[in-house]
Amino acid sequence: MSADLLTPAIAAAPGVRVRRRPVTLVACLAILGAALFAVLFGHLLFPNATQVNVLASQLPPGSPGHLLGTDQLGRDIVALSVAGAASTLIGPLVVAGGSMLVGTFFGLLAGFRQGKTDFLLSRVTDLLLALPVVLLGLVVAGIFGASYWWTTVLLIVVFTPYDIRIVRSGVIEQVTKPYVEAARMLRLSSWRIMFRHLLVNLWPLERTNFLLNYANAIIAMSALSFLGVGVQEGTANWGRQLIDGEQILFSNPAASIAPAVLIIVVACAVNLLADALNADDRKAVRP
């Protein structure tokens, strides 16, 4: 290693990417736009996506009329994948939104009140963090035979501790700032300080965390569908397509590779969007 190796590390500002072309941002937004289109209009474009057609079973990719072939039930892979966007992407959105709301409420409470409230909340958080999301989801949703929406609720419960922790640490950092002290001097109620003053300043944190949670929720929920939990058999869903497709991996690889790639691409786009917005933020703050 040459001596000048260390120079960039010292020259650059904390964690900043020196020059970030907006290419990543545009690509992410394009991918998410396409995904949104599929979520909103997928069922209109392919109303018969889940219809079984035994005559066209396991056609390989490139078959006439079926660009990516069909699965063992004769369902067209392209149609199934487009129609599957809704059930793959809406549940996780609810998970990320729900855990953000609940997590913000309790995180503010824990960080601002501290003391007993904080202690109690932190112990509940520890309990939920002791087990991996996939294991908790598999055992609880699997044993109870949870439906799609109950699985969503379960994931909100499992994701909330992370939100509580992050919001709590954000609040603890903010509480010492002069504006909070000023608000306290004015004898504003603690609820007003928490939800009018602190909340605004937590926004960048919340936004990044929401996006990261969304990506993780997409992965977690497809993982559960892949394990046969949360999504009924026969539903158009990328995780479900993966287990069904694995059985015919060698006769029509597209049946499972297509949804696998879709999950990776969408989760990546969400994660990179979070990174890009974060970098912009840091640039904006710095003079």
Partner: protein, 339 residues
């Protein structure tokens, strides 16, 4: 983490004067951590125990599975499982049996859970060990390179790859690898765990690579963040100003930078446990993860309860061990010991 920083701060301010109180604080902290871990495990065990009671359907059905049972057998089972006792007594008996190593029998074929466990634990351990070793060997150097070249092309490349690695669920990666290396370029077996050590390792290469991608991406991020912070700290600038070689500076920075990476080992382990369920299912490996998946499917309560508690115990104990070793390795604690 808050109590820990308190101790460190007070130690930094006045170590000689407050020596005894610092030692006392550390001892109290250790005691708290141990008690906390025990309480956590106790609560988890209660929840796991209650799983059979709050799950839908009749408790006897949950024990016997879907086979038809006569009233006589129901009565015998009620007596055998102590279902006529209070819930608290039942829990204590269950816990007692569990701690003795009597983990019950699988409802599927009446094999004892301990036998199922010992048959399967090897594959999972080997899989996680291989994946962890590969992930650490590749990711720590990559994280350091990215941190050294922060903002550069290489850093961007490594950072973006780590995001992709984190965004790619292990089952999706596994399926793609399965197709590429078992069908397109058939060099690896597609399922099973093989016979004998060499063959088993050969069967585990693809699953371990799948697992390592996720874990590795996580470790790259941790290492990069920690190293960027270290390389920007004053002691690095001063060391450079004094003309100390790059190699030595990097070695020192790495020794400091690796601490936050080690303290998150509990999270890494938790991540691996979750992923190993998916990877084993993808590659049909007869390990603990696949056992858990199939027992949930068949509502095999004894197995599900045992495995859940087993994984929770491992994660809680490793987190505790990491916390304690961090304390033991902290300079302040060493200083106390030397005295």
């Amino acid at each position: 983490m808050a109590p820990l920083t308190d101790v460190m701060d007070s130690a930094d301010l006045a170590p000689p004067v407050r020596a005894t109180s610092t030692a006392g604080a550390i001892a109290r902290l250790i005691a708290w951590r141990v008690v906390g871990a025990i309480v956590l495990l106790a609560v988890i065990s209660v929840l796991v125990f209650l799983l059979t009671y709050i799950s839908p359907g009749n408790i006897i059905k949950n024990i016997t599975g879907i086979r038809p049972v006569s009233p006589r057998i129901v009565a015998a089972l009620r007596a055998q499982y102590g279902l006529n006792q209070s819930l608290v007594m039942q829990y204590l008996h269950w816990l007692g049996r569990f701690l003795e190593g009597n983990w019950g029998r699988s409802i599927e074929d009446q094999t004892s859970v301990s036998q199922l466990f010992s048959e399967r634990v090897g594959v999972t351990l080997l899989l996680c060990g291989l994946a962890f070793a590969a992930a650490v060997l590749v990711s720590v150097p990559l994280g350091v390179i990215a941190a050294v070249r922060v903002g550069g092309v290489l850093d961007r490349l490594i950072s973006v790859s780590s995001v992709i690695g984190l965004s790619a669920p292990s089952f999706a990666v596994g399926l793609i690898l399965l197709y590429v290396f078992c069908y397109y370029l058939p060099i690896f077996p597609s399922s099973g765990a093989g016979q004998g050590l060499a063959d088993t390792v050969y069967h585990l290469i693809l699953p371990a690579a799948t697992l390592a991608i996720g874990v590795g991406a996580y470790i790259v991020r941790l290492t990069r963040t920690a190293m960027v912070r270290e390389l920007q700290s004053d002691y690095v600038s001063f060391a450079r100003a004094r003309g100390i070689g790059t190699r030595r500076i990097l070695a020192t920075a790495l020794r400091n930078g690796i601490i936050p990476v080690i303290t998150t080992m509990g999270l890494v382990l938790s991540f691996m446990v979750g992923s190993t369920i998916l990877v084993e299912t993808t590659f049909t490996l007869p390990g603990l993860g696949m056992l858990l998946q199939s027992s949930v499917e068949y509502k095999d309560f004894a197995v599900v309860q045992f495995l859940t508690l087993f994984f929770a115990a491992i994660i809680v104990l490793v987190t505790l061990a990491v916390d304690l070793s961090y304390l033991a390795l902290s300079p302040e604690w060493r200083w106390q010991l030397r005295k």
